[in-house]
Point group: C2
């Protein structure tokens, strides 16, 4: 019986999940592969900390470079996260001829090209199924299931924290602050939730998916990113009234020769399958020219699901090792060195329907000012709601749904309205996905 | 540049879809694989019939054995369907050293073991992603994405025809007959819809999924199968009232050392993601011990989606050919020769909640007879609705939802009620999925 030797960097939730999966499923996998899977080295930040998995203390080190330099490691599993020293670790692992499995979406989003080329140059394998949507096999689907397709569009609800918060706001009428507190209490949100609620984590993931699906390098900085922190129960309620749900949506789709790549709260039709993906679930919708629209849904995080994804990659690589072809270029995807850059369309060029909520005084002339400014910029209004006259002239909400408009035109109109100083608060703008041309 | 030579058996919807996909995507795929994909032989039933794809007439034959015996064919794509001569064709192809891609779920459900062993013995590849749920990469997900898991359960809405009919009945209140007619007019149902509406096609597909997911030979005949033809708008409406939707559901799950494998209309909670999979869409939910519950949704049929799935397999096999490992046993799945039979639990042992609709005269004593018989068999009633007193003593519907009960006990009670001859029509029984222990 052969042996596949694993080195793990990070024994947090995911690392311990992998160790526990191996303890429970290791012997069944060994029978199938005629090879044992053994963790031969593990790096942790704090050697003394207690952990959720039993790992032989003699293999534990505080220096992650011990793992990537260990001659007794075949596959490096990087689940420490962050950019540094993860980047150098992976580049070193590749140089040392080790295959790599990583769950690090941030690293791949920002330094993906460097890593993809390094593993190609070194002739090693790279797996990153765990970087997006936990156990949901979305990377595998793009690489294999839809391999014969030209991918046309990818839409994702790929941040469990934000989706949990929005679901609580939608289903229970909670405020953003209360929903966030609940998410933090349940461990769905971190003490500093910035990466999740500001859409940054979602942008990392869509960058990874888009790069793979559209076979192109992605400049992470050019993905327009907007979070969910400004959404109010009023917006959630209005969306419902118009037949929509609000989701933090990642969008990557071909528009002519460009790529439309953005992350922001979006209204999607209540009857759309993604509208009903609630709680901490993730969903990714992939549209292929032949496969049509397919959706994959599942737990986007957690020890078990992420360990399942990490081990899917490990087994895939182990399968190639068994056949002696590990590191040989797979024709299933275009190599990084041959990928062609695609222009990412600036958000100003986005064509979309918009939900606008103005906070204005309830007095004559206001409506004329709003509609005048919109009309001048060719923004046409599809429907409008004004409700609730407030005591003492307090500002009221005027909600408009526009027809399809160009974002730059809308921005111009909103700047003009801003200039009139009639608005008591910044205007809320939410894009309606599926309503654009 | 190398060459991957394809022989197609059947140039109907799927076969033409493959030809069209190759015409559109062939050059991009050739670049990636450094090999051209060419159809070198194609067998059709009627050589003179006009087709939806341009295929060189000189490669067309009326004898499918020409394809599997052609030395210029590397991969045989079988999309003719049916058991015979498909079985002999595939066995011959394997013996001739050709890899096989098939969309034939019926063949795999009934003769799978023979075929799996034949391809293993011959050292050729077999792909059948297209056999279940069209483009939805559910076979790939089980083989690769969830490879590290012990699969606990598979649930599927995997017959587009039935799902289309049930969706029309649910969303528009149509009768079964009217919805079937509409499905036939739109091409979603065949002139003889038996295989689809009686659950047989669904049973074929769950047999294929269960065999793969639970690594066991499946005796197709032991899968309890019930169709949708007896469902009425009243049942659909009652389901809605209790917060459920009715779907034709395929179930395969581990229960102790047995496998629970069955196909029947089932009530699932309206809030469950599968409840909202409507129209001709398919959905497969896979539960792994580490991955948790994941769902894949997409078009279950059609030229494009099925061609996408066929070509996914072709490319996967071509990738192994390029690396010189085609036909080498993949450790990702347990070989057929090592699979261990699992007992399929008879439907009598099913534990479930039940929806019962009795058609009875509206007179004293009836309710006592019904509840007495149920009580004697330890069937306890969770809720009950009787509605609509009819003119002239016409029978009324009494609807009951039971607590979890054993199917054999329920059958005994129903036989007893049947014996009293108080029912004016056979009692409708619908299982509630998710309500069992």
């Amino acid at each position: 019986m052969g042996s596949i030797r694993l080195g793990i960097i990070g024994l947090g939730v995911v690392g311990c999940g992998v160790a526990n999966l191996l303890r429970e499923r290791g012997s069944a996998l060994a029978t199938r592969f005629n090879a044992s899977f053994t963790i031969t080295r593990a790096a942790v930040k704090d050697v003394k900390k207690s952990r959720d998995a039993e790992v032989d203390p003699s293999i534990i080190t505080a220096d992650p470079f011990d793992v990537v330099n260990d001659p007794n490691v075949d596959i490096v599993i990087e689940v420490m996260g962050g950019e540094n020293p993860a980047l150098e670790l992976l580049l070193t692992a590749a140089k040392n001829g080790k295959s790599i499995v990583t769950a690090n979406k941030r690293l791949l989003a920002i330094h993906g090209e460097k890593i993809y080329r390094a593993v190609e140059d070194a002739g090693v394998e790279l797996g990153f199924e765990a970087a997006v949507a936990g156990a949901v096999p979305v990377i595998g689907a793009i690489k294999t299931g839809f391999a014969a397709n030209r991918i046309e569009a990818i839409h994702g609800i790929i941040n469990g924290t934000s989706n949990y918060i929005l679901s609580r706001m939608t289903l229970e009428g909670k405020s953003y602050a209360d929903a966030l507190k609940e998410a933090q209490a349940l461990g769905y949100a971190e003490a500093d939730p910035t990466f999740d609620v500001e859409g940054i984590d979602t942008a990392h993931k869509i960058a990874v998916l888009a790069s793979l699906g559209f076979e192109t390098p992605i400049n992470f900085g050019s993905i327009y990113t907007e979070g969910i922190t400004r959404l109010t129960p009023e917006d959630i309620g209005m969306a419902r009234e118009f037949g929509y749900r609000i989701k933090l949506l990642a969008v990557a789709k071909r528009v002519g020769d460009s790529l439309d790549a953005r992350v922001h709260p979006a209204m999607i039709l209540a009857s759309h399958p993604m509208a009903n993906v609630n709680g901490a679930l993730n969903a990714v919708e992939i549209k292929g020219d032949f496969a049509g629209v397919n959706m994959l849904v599942g737990p986007g995080a957690g020890a078990g699901p992420t360990a399942s994804a990490v081990m899917a990659d490990v087994l895939d690589i182990a399968g190639r090792m068994v056949h002696g072809v590990a590191g040989k270029r797979s024709p299933m995807i275009t190599p990084a060195s041959k990928r062609v850059p695609i222009r990412i369309r600036p958000v100003d060029e986005t064509r979309s329907q918009y939900y606008l909520r103005f906070s204005v005084p309830d007095r004559p002339g206001v409506m004329a000012a709003l509609s005048g400014a919109l009309g001048e910029s060719k923004i046409s209004i599809a429907s409008m709601i004004q409700r609730g006259r407030k005591e003492g002239g307090a500002p009221v909400s005027v909600v408009m749904m526009t027809h399809v408009a160009v974002e730059a035109d809308l921005r111009r109109a909103l700047a003009k309205i801003e200039g009139t100083k009639i608005c008591a608060a910044p205007t809320m703008v939410i894009r309606i996905e599926g309503g654009e041309e």
